[in-house]
Each structure stands twice: as C-alpha cells, then as structure tokens.
C-alpha cells in the first residue's frame, strides 16, 4: 500500500490521500494542481488504470485536486489548521 494512503497517520504536513482503486485516471487533478505535486502512477490499479499519485512533497492542502475530482472518495486532503487557503476554498 502506498504510504500516502495511510489515513490514520498524522504527518503534520498537508498531503493528498489518494485511494488508487477509486481513481479513474482522468488526470484532472494532475492538471489542476497549482504546485504540480501529483502525477500519474507507473503502476495499474485494480481497474487496470494508471491512477493519480502524490509525488511525496510540495502539497499545500489547498483542496483544488479534491474539487476537480469527479469521484467522491478518490481524494481526501489533510491540511494543517493554520495554513492559509485560496479565498475560494474558505468557508462560506
């Protein structure tokens, strides 16, 4: 199991939690990530698709990949409490 999908660990740093088996490989998140910290995996998931994966560093916890993803449970984002967010993601 990839390290970045272990949801129970609190790394203290912002990071995307990608469930590779839910990913359909549309690449919208990879394309949208403002800091280019996502890529398409070299390995196939259970669907036979190359899913998105975290490169391992650089995530700011902005949530943009989450909102670009059409799947409900393919991406979650861990973000520290005191990280400034893009205005659009702020609570309404």
């Amino acid at each position: 199991m990839p390290a970045n999908s272990d949801e129970s660990l609190d790394s203290g740093k912002p990071r995307p939690l990608i469930n590779p088996d839910e990913c359909k490989g549309c690449e919208r998140c990879v394309n949208a990530c403002p800091v280019h910290c996502l890529k398409i995996s070299e390995t196939l998931n259970c669907r036979g698709i190359r899913p998105a994966e975290y490169v391992g560093q650089g995530c700011t916890g902005c949530g943009i990949c989450f909102y670009n993803c059409p799947e409900p449970y393919a991406i979650k984002i861990d973000k520290p409490d005191k990280v400034s967010q893009p205005a659009a993601v702020e609570p309404r």
Binding site: C26, E27, Y67, N68, P70, K76, I77, D78, A88
Partner: protein, 469 residues
Amino acid sequence: MNRIKTTGMYELFPRSGCADSRSTHYCAGCGHGIVHKLIAEALAELQIQNETIIFNPVGCSVFGYYYWDAGNISAAHGRSPSAATGIARTLKDRVIICYQGDGDLAAIGLNSTLQAANRGEHIAVIFINNATYGMTGGQMAPTTLGGMKTLTSPFGRDPLTDGYPLHVCELINQLAAPVYIERVSVADTKRIFKARNAVFKALRIQKEGKGYAFVEIIAPCPTSLKLSPLECARFCANEMEAEFPLGCLRDKSDQPIAEAVPHQHVSAEEFFSKPDYDFEILAPVVDHACKESSMRFAGFGGQGVLTLGLWLAGAARIDRRFTTWYPSYGPEQRGGAASCSVVISGHEIGSPAADSLDLFVAMNQVAYQRFVCDVKSGGTVFVDETVPLDKKPPTDVKLVRVPAIKLAAEFDSPQSANTVMLAAIATVGNVTLRRESLLKSLEGSFRKKPGQAAANRDVFIRAEQRLKS
C-alpha cells in the same frame, strides 16, 4: 489537522449493485461527479439533508439516488418540474432540487421547465449542459453547438436545418418569477469554485423559501464528445463558453419573499351543497302511477334549448319526480347544433338517453329533420312557426306549431323564445308537471338576476294568454 473530504453522500453506494462500492458509475472526467460533490457538500453545509428531496432525471445521472444522502425521487423524462411542483406545494418546508440534463430539461421537458419557472415554484433546478445526449451515446441535443459533430449530426449541426443552440438561462430570464439565474462551468478550478458558490446559493434560496432558482452548469462529457477528459474540459472552457457565456443573469435573493394571497378554503361538501334555488327542493318520491317520459329540446346554440330542458327538469324536481338532463352540443358555444334530452319519471331512471320521445321541441329546421322520426306514437312535437315542415312526423303524433320566435320579438324580448315555448308546453298540457312548478322553475333559474325573473314571468303569462286565444 483538518480533512477536506466528501460530505452529504452515502459512505458506500450499495444500491449500485456492488456491496462495497465507493466509486460512481460515471466515466473518467465526467462533469456529473464534480457537480454531485458540490450539491452534496452544500446539502451538508446547510444542514438540509433531512428535508431535501432531489429529483433524479432521465439521463446518466438517473442513479443520483445511489449517492446523495437525501430524499430522492425519479420523475418521468422531463417532468421533474411538474412532479416537483406537487411536492413543493404540499410539503412547503422541504427543499426541492431538480437535477436535470439538457435532453431532460431543454428538449422533452422544456415546457414543464418554463411553466414551473413562470409560476416561480420553490425549486432549485440544477441544469447540466454538456451539449449532447450522454446516456444514449452522444446524439445531438438542443444545446449542441453549431457545426458540432454528433451521432445524429455526422456532418456537423447545421442551424438552418437543425436549429440553433438553445440558451435556456436566457429563455428563463424572460420570465418575471425566478429569483436566481446563473450559468457556471466546471471546466477548471476557478470555474468550479464559482459553480460551488452558485449551487450553494440556489440551495440556500430554497432553505429560506425564496422561490425559483436556476443554475446552468456547463459540464464535460468526454466519452460522448470523443475527447480526452482534459481536452473536453478545454472544449467546455473555450468553444462552449463562446456560445453560452458564463455569468449571473439575475439575483433577487436578497429581496423580501413575496407572499401569495391566501385562498379561503371551501370544502367539497360545502361547495356542492349550494342550493340551485332560493327554495328547498325535496328528494324525489317513488310514484309508479307516473310513467317515464322522454323529451328532447333541439335548435341551435343560443336559442336557449338547453335552458328550456333545464326548466322542465327543474319543474320535475319541484314536483318530486326523478329526472335527468343530458346536453349535447358541438365544440362551439354559440351557433352550432345543440340539443338536450330530459327524462322525467316516478321511479329511478336507468338511462338519461332519450331515443323514443314523448315530447320533442324543435327550434330550427335541422333539429326538426334530425329528431322528428324519434317521436313515438302518441307523442307531441312543438315546432316553431318559422320551421318548414319538409319531413312528415310519424303517424299518431300531435304537431303543435308555436309562433315562439315571433311572439318573443313582439314582446320586445327576442331572446326569450324558449320562454314562449315553455308557455306552449304548459298550455297544451300533455306533461305531468304542474303549471306552478314550471313557472317556479323558470323564475328560480334567474335567482341571481331578479329583473330577468320578472321579465320572463311576464313573457310566460302573456304568451299563455295569446296561445289560448
């Protein structure tokens, strides 16, 4: 540590058929999934999941009820606004969302959509515009762009034969009632966050009970448009927005709620118990000595033949007879052939149809020709003097020529030829009804016009005197 994750959806989607499924049935890069998440997030954030009813459309998103953790209903193709109207009006504290695609909303359901918008129903309509019929495999939709190739426009949509792309937001913006109309897109991050706010606002308007909200969302359909997810997103941002410019067309959500004038409730019992006359009508009594008699009154519409029949039937009610009145006329209100049949009896009546007549009143030639052969032996025919008798009545039938139209004109009341005819029926006296009852029924029918009641009574009495002399 905070966690950004999907809220407002079921944890698992067992209805999809796989017990442990946590993924949607949508294609990679589909706009539906993104919009589903935005709606679910707004539902959870507004805390309205328990009072929300979402109408799932016919289209790819027909299985919306797999995902949204709220009330879900499926309506017939395009009829979500009509079904939603019923729910919104009966369950006023609910939040109603119609989630519809362009085939559902802009093609088969456009009428329902415009009518519901025009009535300002309290529903939030989320309209997914992907310029094609996605579920059926990419046929041309009303929103397909000019020149765009689809399964059913293989050489590109030609506006001269296939029409122009339909701008639904602009159509709805012609109507006075809607509170909020906006067109957004989910092509990229910036647009998704605008769409997120628009969906949230449409749902908040429902929570606050402010009225009709319409959000059109331009969404990619990579499979049907035969593009990769990223190419399709770019297509939405460039080509589709050139035809369907984004923006808020109307926002009256900060204005106070308009209240409809409440109706005074009248129960069905109360409504139908209103008396027909100022005096009481008693229930009919069985009298086997009184044989059943069938009558027909015929002429052209406007001569008062239906009313004449009603007077006879009314008099029968006053005399506590069983009676039926059965009109027959064309689609026109005045001028066409009109007739009614009346059956009066001392016992319960089996059929209101009068095929074998004891009494027949003809006010014009067509009516006379058509029905005179139905009069049975021993019956009576009343014919206006102006009608030429080009057809002989059956044998043993009494023929009475009445100068009804002439006398009515003479009495300065040309529209009361039927009253003269009633006087003739009373004078010849071959009906079992009492003269007082006929007169009472005549006057009673004008209870809302006292002047008319007196005038018709006057015509009746003068006609009686003339006919007797």
